[in-house]
């Protein structure tokens, strides 16, 4: 061990080091772009992109790295949103960061309950079970008195971060959201690149083999599910603070479908794919909503879905990486 630290680096370590340097330079560039972005684009729109990007990253953690297709992730997004929204509007003393924390915690608990039930089945059944469970949560939110039912929860105060930074200003809000996004993204990045992430991938590739190697497969899957649920809840909580409202749209199964589309379009199992996908889908919806094609959002998303599945399964980032590897390595 001591020798490796003092001796000159082997070529492979050099390569790795260079790759790491490149990666960090890339991350740094992205962070800089993130920091200056609100001066070039509408901050609220950017915050929406960031929230959905985080949501898609959370979803991708499950699909891309654990191979589990959840069709019920809207439930976590909505749970985070409703709990945070309820707390912030009913108890003015609660600061936004605390509200977001509690909202995320609620999503984690729900994730634990869902996960315990859903990981008993695999593949398509898993998708249907999560869908059905999320539909139940939807009905719960429709009827629970604190959600405002169909009317939703409105006028959630953005409040003061740590009790003294006013978030009413869009720029202040933006940087807060940006930090949350970075934290969430870092968690995903760490989880994926850790030994834990390797085991997850092993389970995805060959579950019986992972079992025979002595891994407690269910525990690994459950942890991935809970982590993913928590991050989705974080996205929902943050979104509620940004838009000052929580509504049933977030809990509807269309939302679960949308996050799948975002991930698929950007690239399943790539770190940045969901971010790109979320950015594209949100921008598309945004542009279409204000154009004469506004009523065609659904079918257009459907067509993108079909094209992605038929001939673009690695997504934008996945295809780009393939090209990069082919031409530059």
């Amino acid at each position: 061990m001591a020798t490796t630290q003092t001796q000159t680096l082997t070529p492979s370590m050099k390569r790795e080091r260079r790759a790491n340097q490149r990666r960090y330079a890339f991350y740094l560039a992205l962070i800089v772009i993130g920091l200056v972005a609100p001066f070039f684009a509408y901050p609220v729109f950017l915050m929406k992109v960031l929230c959905f990007a985080l949501f898609a990253c959370a979803f991708n953690l499950l699909l891309g790295y654990a191979g589990l297709l959840s069709f019920g992730h809207a439930a976590f997004l909505a749970t985070g949103g409703y709990v945070t929204g309820y707390l912030l509007s009913s108890y003015p003393a609660i600061t936004p960061e605390l509200g977001i924390l509690v909202g995320t915690g609620a999503a984690v608990l729900l994730g634990l309950a869902f996960g315990a039930l859903a990981i008993r089945r695999q593949g398509i059944y898993f998708a249907m079970v999560t869908l059905a469970l999320a539909q139940m949560v939807f009905f719960f939110f429709v009827q629970a008195p604190f959600t405002g039912g169909e009317d939703g929860l409105h006028g959630v105060p953005r409040g003061h971060l740590f009790g003294f930074i006013s978030l009413r200003n869009n720029l202040a809000m933006y940087y807060f959201v940006f930090v949350i996004f970075l934290i969430g993204f870092a968690i995903v990045q760490r989880a994926v690149h850790s030994p834990y992430g390797q085991v997850l991938k092993a389970i995805r590739e060959n579950e019986p083999r992972a079992v025979s190697l002595g891994y407690n497969v269910d525990a690994y899957k459950l942890l991935a599910f809970v982590l993913s649920a928590g991050l989705a809840g974080l996205a929902g909580s943050t979104k509620t603070v940004v838009f000052q409202l929580a509504s049933l749209t977030d809990a509807h199964w269309h939302m679960s479908g949308e996050v799948i589309l975002m991930t698929l379009l950007g690239g399943v199992g790539t770190l940045f794919g969901p971010v790109v996908g979320a950015g594209l889908v949100v921008s598309l919806q945004h542009m279409l909503a204000q154009s004469p094609l506004g009523t065609w959002v659904g079918p257009i998303l459907g067509v993108i879905f079909v094209i992605c599945v038929l001939s673009f399964r690695s997504g934008i980032v996945g295809e780009a990486m393939k090209m990069y590897r082919k031409n530059f390595k």
Partner: protein
Amino acid sequence: MTMIFGVPLAVFMGQLLLGLINGAFYALLSLGLAVIFGLLKIVNFAHGAMYMLGAFATLLGMRYLGINFWAALVLAPLFVGLLGMLVERFLLRRIGHLDHLYGLLLTFGLALIFEGTLVNFFGVSGARYPTPEALQGGFQTGFMFLPKYRAFVLVAAIAVCLVTWYIIERTRLGAYLRAGTENPALMQAFGVNVPLLVTLTYGFGVALAAFAGVLAAPLYPVSPTMGSNLLIVVFAVVVIGGMGSILGAVLTGLGMGLIEGLTKVYYPEAANTVIFLVMILVLMLRPAGLFGKEA
């Protein structure tokens, strides 16, 4: 008046009967899903859209082509079945070799396209389809006024379910089908045209959904979104029953209809959720579903 747990017998029996009729729809739809799943191993997310298309074909057929209900009962499933066969031949087949989750996603995309496009042409208010003349009015049974049409729905749905069961379990074609489910490669080797069998199966599965759609047209408003919410309930039904058996799908569908009907008597607020609660229970006790084989 005889009371059952505080509810008049008449109301109780009436609700049970209505629940059974709803169950007939669940049965038809989950049967179609099960047939498709058996051979293609995909969950057809476009099933709700196909049900909706069946209803729309009936409505538009009457409006523009003068096709009456009885003809639509045959023609609409045929039309939707053909559409389904095209979908299978030109879209689903291309991803047949991939993880079956892609099939789910593809059909989800298709559902968005069908629904969204029709919304643009027909709005969502829902159009009404008249009850066929021969089935107007109803019977005054001992405990309720039963519209003739609803009685017809129950009988027709169960009959179609039984015929499907018979075809699959008792005929040569069904034998091919079951064998194809077990081992498609071997079937191909025996000279059976498996791809054609797959196409036909998908067509037949969605035709069943379309048949349910035709039956639904005079009952519910015909609107582009009529299928999507129903489909999620049917998914839960399928999880409860397990997709293993044809008869299982039918029985679970009818059973869930009954349970839903009972909930409407005693605790109507939970009518939308009761099936999902049953699903959770089943998942905890029998993860493979009531009629499913352990995977």
